[in-house]
Symmetry: C2
Subunit: 194 residues, 2 copies
């Protein structure tokens, strides 16, 4: 296995475990065991568990922003339909996966936002990066006359993003995608009303 | 100190620490130290840390529903103004307390929703109890002609509740009450538009 592969494997396996158990509740041992990698390898790639956590946020951020770009810049469909597809596909995903996990970045924000300033800043930047995809899509939807002119694309995108995080949280305790469906319905009403 | 007082003290001190560090990241020792209570006392009141956690959710639920009742059933002001006061007072609170902690019940849901079924069920019920205060207030606002007739009070209350949780999460990483102010503005638009 190449060096890059081992590092990726540690991040991937760590992401899986942390999504279920949480960052503080996951030991380096758990990650090593899942990745079947010796302890020394971990410290070759990461200075500490904190260092691993910060790299993990980048790993999430890169995956999600790449995915969001594919949805929100898709020229084959209208901006408002891109948003619909994005939410629909998440609903399908969570219906299949028993509503587990929620948003890895949201989970990390909840857990680490108050206790680690480096995590907090990186998470804040990640949220900002992600919401930009939504605000740009809203701007395009306004240009095409699909949504209300009176909405501020940035403010609305931030609200959409926060509300989606809240819906994912509620999904976790209801074990149902109803909060996501409700989120989509209410946001659609906001976007299309004059 | 009476027995009831010791139990309350353990829950209060535990709540404080867990709000900052998280449930899994807090040891029984941390709680005992903060409450200045010997170890035996903990096991006199709680069978286990899990048992303590479940009692803690009840403790949160009772505090919050009592508080919500005071706001949302306040006969001295209009239903829509009760909602405004509720959000305004949270904004003031978080401005003073450096946007720390967020929602203890939301935090617990994020952390425990996937890993402990007893926690999940109790958290789901708590969320439902809390949102009922909002839906009843919306029903009253509709009767008084303050908000749109076309809104479903239950669905809208659930959406408001989830969006507030999301705004509190975003607040944690931005260290600013802007997400709460944005939440209030956007929800007000939904409520008053025909």
């Amino acid at each position: 296995m190449t060096k890059e592969n081992t590092k990726s494997l540690l991040l991937e396996k760590g992401a899986e475990i942390i999504l279920e158990k949480g960052f503080n509740n996951t030991g380096i041992q758990d990650i090593l065991k899942a990745a079947q990698v010796p302890k020394g390898s971990f410290y070759y790639y990461f200075k500490s568990k904190e260092d691993f956590g910060l790299d993990l946020i980048d790993f999430y951020a890169n995956n999600y922003t790449t995915m969001m770009e594919e949805y929100f810049k898709d020229p084959s469909t209208s901006p408002i339909n891109r948003f619909k597809r994005y939410v629909d596909d998440w609903i399908t995903y969570f219906d299949i996966s028993n509503c587990k996990g929620g948003c890895p970045i949201g989970n990390m924000a909840q857990e680490m936002g108050d206790i680690n300033e480096s995590f907090r800043i990186k998470l804040k930047e990640t949220f900002d990066r992600m919401k930009t995809h939504i605000s740009e899509c809203l701007r395009e939807a306004q240009e095409k006359g699909e949504i209300s002119e009176s909405l501020d694309p940035d403010e609305t995108a931030d609200f959409i993003f926060d509300s989606l995080e809240g819906a994912l949280l509620r999904m976790k305790v209801t074990k149902s995608t109803t909060p996501l469906k409700r989120f989509y319905k209410m946001i659609s009403n906001i976007l299309t009303k004059e």
